[in-house]
């Protein structure tokens, strides 16, 4: 655990955002410190209890150099006495800190705060190939890169991340990633009231967009409110909380500007609940009511006319059908219709999918995501292949917090396969965390796993919005991720 380095980074963060830490804040934090002290012991033990190194050998190829891929490379480097690891990643900024994109929209951070050079995080001894894998041949244990090079492997780790599929919405174009080229998407997104924090440049644009909305609200006359819509698509998405976080941030900035009463904020998700964990679901409903947010469930954005500022949603519902003697219930019939909504501001959470080069390859699946046993993260068909992070077919698992748990599981299980062990020792339990930003200054730390029950790390009511979690989110999680997780130690 490079704790000195991490503390140093936290100090830099705090100094950089001068004024973020007032005397009152410092007092509160000190009051909370006994809680922190109570966990020192367990944290220390956990970091010192690293298993001894393995003498297993074999060529490991990791496809994808985001948080998941680099952390896995680092962990394997520590754990193997003679590591032979090749990492394939074309983007020189692949290790960006995506959880910070909402903070960019909030005006708390700049893009430079989340941008890191991948080169600085590639573990020593790992061979980095700066190219894209264009085909997978798992039967012959090889991949091919864009320049035509065939790369053989004994073991493969797939951590490519996912694709933001703006093109799936009629009227928009482009399939992009959070830190890559995005010109096609930005023809329509990032201006004229249409925004998305799901890519870094889009987050910068969203900040400007909220300012424009404030200016428009200040000039607005008449009884009709301006309309701000916030979407959430019908695919799995990274960071299930972000569609709502942007709404909270917009609300907070409008309120601080004194124009909240001029704008109606409506959440339009494809699903029929706020959150998959009942306790958190209930808490978010309360937060929505307090803020006078509107919501319309089962309302999925399918098209947008950016000229007319009109969004088209597919609205779904169930209608009572005939009585079913076998079921002893009335059957339900799935119904849908298109509804149009005018907007002054719309935040789009794009549909998301596995990159086609992965999803439609032999290691993909009918739904694209790489099919793995969700506990061991081993590929269902190819036992020398593992997948983790956004591209893996794992329920509720597309966050940095999940990847943080998954890379240890992949490293331990991969080593077990290399050592020809019968049983894979590590199991992922679906842990993930959503630091739900509920205002600029408060966060609810929503931790949970596949039991769909709260799994708080602290004896604090996790449904409460707290200033302490805001501090953790703004000052501590990034250094922990960038200097702890990427070095494979935290």
């Amino acid at each position: 655990m490079k704790s000195d380095k991490i503390i140093e980074e936290i100090l830099i963060e705090i100094e950089k955002h001068d004024g973020g830490m007032s005397r009152r804040h410092a007092m509160k934090l000190l009051a909370a410190s006994p809680i922190a002290a109570s966990v020192i012991a367990s944290a220390t033990i956990a970091t010192e209890a690293e298993a001894s190194s393995s003498s297993a050998t074999g060529k490991i190829v990791i496809v994808g150099g985001g948080l998941a891929g680099v952390a896995t490379a680092a962990k394997l480097t520590h754990r193997l006495a003679n590591p032979d690891i090749t990492l394939i990643e074309p983007n020189p900024h692949s290790v960006s800190y995506q959880p910070g994109q909402t903070l960019i929209a909030a005006g708390v951070w700049d893009k430079s705060d989340i941008t890191y050079e991948t080169a600085n995080f590639i573990p020593k001894g790992v061979k980095w190939i700066k190219d894209t894998v264009v085909s997978f041949d798992p039967k012959n244990n090889k991949v091919t890169t864009a320049d035509g090079t065939e790369i053989g492997y004994d073991y493969l780790v797939v951590a490519t991340g996912l694709t933001l599929n703006f093109a799936a919405i009629k009227g928009l174009e482009g399939e992009i990633t959070s830190m890559g080229a995005n010109d096609v998407v930005r023809k329509k997104v990032g201006k004229d009231g249409v925004y998305s924090v799901y890519f870094a440049d889009g987050a910068v644009d969203t900040r400007k967009g909220i300012d424009e909305l404030i200016a428009k609200a200040k000039a607005h006359k008449g009884p009709e409110k301006l309309q701000a819509l916030f979407t959430d698509p019908d695919t799995a998405i990274k960071c299930g909380g972000a569609p709502k976080k942007v709404m909270y941030i917009t609300h907070d900035l409008l309120k601080k500007a004194g124009v909240r009463d001029k704008v109606e904020l409506t959440f339009c998700p494809s699903g029929d609940k706020m959150f998959g964990v009942p306790e958190y679901n209930a808490a978010i409903f309360e937060q929505f009511k307090v803020r006078d947010f509107k919501w319309e469930f089962k309302t999925n954005l399918v098209a947008i006319d950016t000229e007319k500022k009109m969004a088209t949603f597919e609205k779904k519902w169930l209608e009572k059908g005939e009585y079913d003697e076998d079921l002893k219930e009335y059957t339900m019939v799935s119904m849908s219709k298109l509804v149009e909504k005018k907007y002054d501001f719309i935040h789009i959470t794009p549909p998301q999918k596995a990159p086609d080069l992965v999803g439609k390859s032999p290691i993909g699946s009918s739904k694209g995501w790489v099919p793995v046993v969700k506990e061991t993260l081993q590929h269902v068909t190819y036992k020398n292949v593992f997948a983790l992070g956004d591209v893996a077919a794992v329920p509720m698992g597309k966050t940095g917090g999940s990847a943080r748990k998954q890379y240890n599981v992949v490293a331990e299980n991969l080593i077990a396969v290399m050592e020809k062990q019968e049983k894979l020792p590590a199991a992922y339990d679906g842990y993930t965390v959503c630091p739900l930003i509920t205002s600029i200054g408060t966060v609810a730390m929503l931790e949970f796993n596949w039991t769909a029950k709260p799994a708080p790390s602290f004896p604090l009511d996790p449904t409460q919005e707290r200033w302490i979690w805001w501090l953790v989110k703004v000052y501590a999680l990034k250094p922990m991720t960038i200097y702890g997780m990427l070095s494979g130690r935290a």
Partner: protein
């Protein structure tokens, strides 16, 4: 100042590593075995061999891998695969709630394994 930062760092460490108090996992017991649940309920719409029943709009489930079955059953029982994503099986999600009320609940992995081992025709 130093103490404060250390506290912050440790809190983050615990959040990220999730090494604090784990939720007590409740032991769930089910009234019926996956086979009983299948034969008494699922069979009506998915067929005695998992081949599907067109007139009931029940799709075939005899060609899916265990992993596909597990993801679908998770989606049905959890009402979606993400934190707030819509289910891909809105009618079945509704039916499943009704079945669970009547005691026809099951462990996802055990049911996926039962369906696959009993009906799969692609092996």
């Amino acid at each position: 100042m130093k103490k404060m930062n250390l506290a912050l760092c440790l809190m983050a460490l615990v959040v990220l590593s999730g090494c604090g108090d784990k939720p007590k996992s409740d032991v769930v017991t089910y009234k019926y075995t996956p086979e009983q649940v299948y034969k008494e309920t699922c069979l009506h719409c998915h067929g005695p061999k998992g081949e599907g029943v067109a007139e009931k709009k029940g799709p075939a489930i005899n060609k899916q891998t265990i992993q596909e079955l597990e993801m679908s059953l998770f989606d049905i029982k959890n009402g979606g695969l993400g934190q707030s994503t819509a289910t891909e099986h809105d009618v079945m999600e509704h039916n499943m709630k009704k079945l669970a009320e009547k005691g026809y609940d099951y462990d996802i992995k055990m049911m996926a394994t039962y369906i696959h081992n009993t009906f799969n025709i692609t092996k």
